[in-house]
Point group: C2
Chain length 428, copies 2
Amino acid sequence: MVTLLSQPSRLTLNGDRLNQRIEILANLGRQSSGYIRRLAFTPEDLQARQQVQTWMAQAGMTVRIDAAGNIIGRYPGQVQDAPALATGSHIDTVPSGGRFDGVLGVLAGIEAIAALQERHLRLRHPLEVIVFTDEESTMIGCQAMAGTVQARAADYHPADGTTLESCLERVGGNWDEIATALRSRSDLAAFVELHVEQGAVLEHQQRSIGVVEGVVGIRRWALSLTGEANHAGTTPMDLRHDALVAAAEITLAVRRIALQQPGNPVATVGYLNVLPNAVNIVPGRVDLSVDMRDLSCNCLHTMEQRLKQEAQGIAATHGVAITFKPLLCVEPTPAAPGIQGAIATVCDELGLSHCSLPSRAGHDALEIGRITDMGMIFVPSQAGISHSQAEYTSPEQCTQGATVLLHTFLKLDTAYPTDNAERVKSEE
Amino acid sequence: MVTLLSQPSRLTLNGDRLNQRIEILANLGRQSSGYIRRLAFTPEDLQARQQVQTWMAQAGMTVRIDAAGNIIGRYPGQVQDAPALATGSHIDTVPSGGRFDGVLGVLAGIEAIAALQERHLRLRHPLEVIVFTDEESTMIGCQAMAGTVQARAADYHPADGTTLESCLERVGGNWDEIATALRSRSDLAAFVELHVEQGAVLEHQQRSIGVVEGVVGIRRWALSLTGEANHAGTTPMDLRHDALVAAAEITLAVRRIALQQPGNPVATVGYLNVLPNAVNIVPGRVDLSVDMRDLSCNCLHTMEQRLKQEAQGIAATHGVAITFKPLLCVEPTPAAPGIQGAIATVCDELGLSHCSLPSRAGHDALEIGRITDMGMIFVPSQAGISHSQAEYTSPEQCTQGATVLLHTFLKLDTAYPTDNAERVKSEE
């Protein structure tokens, strides 16, 4: 077996097969109206999992299933006991999903390894392709690997309405052994996930590749505003306690707070419900959601403080009562600078345009980044659309993303020591 | 029969009976949870109409039903063929109504006439008490009397789901003869309606009586804003077309436009619906209502122009499409200055505090004011609440309102000529 790459930048992979396999998986769960419905743990998901394991084996990987049902394909390295370099993503979909979300990352990982295997090449490190269990709902796969699982199986609510225990059993996992799925930096040196952007930044900036700076954290609240429902004719403007007027000011404050912070945080009022919601009645109550995302914990904290302060001031001005209920709190995960640099260098060498951007959607890499160095490669999503049958990334763009993933493996193989003692020493 | 009032300011009426009768009508349609449901044309309404006719007859009135089902009780005057001075209101309720809305005006009119009849007094003019048909829904009664009925019976949608023709038949009316219900200034010299305020201005200003300046006109629109639904995480702030942000700015513009106009117009966004209305999706579409009311046509026109201009500017700023659909256009009806003056003078003579204010809810007087001199007397509504079982005006306040109505009749009897030729001459 050949062990050296004389001209690594010329190494290519089989883009046609990659794109054919994307279509093959799309047929598992495709509905007559066009979208893909392949919820985790359903028969379609089990079929797809089986198919992927077959392809892994064909690419020379040994395959195991951990206690969280994660499928781990492993391609051996030259150095015995070296920590792995891993990639992966998911193959389950949202209820009305598209063809690329998750699937691209898994199949590109398999193609990258197939490209090595077909040339009888091995890197110094073992390589892994991981299919994480149920990314779109419980995230049990990546959480188990990162040691962030919740205390009780009952805290999870699989989309099919059954228990998590029975779901895991169906995919070869075991809730009672979930702790054994935990990985660490000493056996997983780095993790790189290729994913479609699910946003329009790359398309807007006309770049082929996105170098992800990290996965943003999320702060999410439910706000309730209680004023006084009253006759829209007979209640003078100065005697009103209009919950919708207060909600409108808060909606604009949420936007202003995001625009005024450095960096490019996002903040959204996506849900807003008015009571009694009648043409001729001053609104008495409004419930609304606030969702804020950024890479920086400081930024999230500042936005949270400003939201509370401004919303309370607005409510007081209008004589409206306000409550805040936290709905979600996810800490951000930065991408390792070394991996970002490797991806950017690869793009330059391959002649692919690129830019840096945060991932503002959640990914398996969000969790894996808590235990080891993490990086992500984005390819463009047409019109920024995802979680929809209109989700689209061209075959050429898919191949480009997979090629960047392959060459990033080559770079990291050189950059990361194969000996854990060496790594610890170099970090001191 | 005595025909002169030597000390008119001492004339009183039977307040206890007035308040007892309000309770008697409240029992027709009272639900176990406390509110009153006496929709026009239902058995409860028919029962109440029968009861009121009995009381009219007891007060010495002759009773007739016109083609619109209006009950017209008439108490003769001294001068043969003099035009009538009229009062009245309605006895139907909204689906979950209170005890006073409409009922007070009808029963106070009957008590005012009973006070004269029991003292064997007649005024120069005949007096009328009118129960208008279905004020809360079709307003067919007052519209028929004012000649503002719509072309086809099918344009009306009675609350019980049947046809207007069958509804009118049930109350002794006749759609085919509806034109015969029309009245004019030559047989109706003036109309004065006593009503609960349905707002909190009198309570707030601590006044016993409101002298109504007129019934406001209404302009009402449906606005639709179409932006782009998008992922709340992956869509940067500057690439959004957020329909809710535009709707929030329009909601605040509506309020600002009303506050900046002279006078005290009101403007309300009471209905607002967000699509898809999900925590993690930038809103793609918002539908909302705008309701604007004022006494002045000029003011309504200015507010309408400003709304369109500002809303279009806001939509353009956010890259959101906007449409306006008119829902309602009611012209304002000013109260006759002479009647306003008479009511205010009566209050001063009776030692009752008063203030002037517009009526911002619709009333039968809105329509009758289109054919003859109109005035309205308001009494306070506790906390401004109406169209609710919590609607409340104290027995003392009800009696005060009825007493002001009685004495206003006495003033108008002197002020208005009994001869139409004389009136026309005095107006020249």
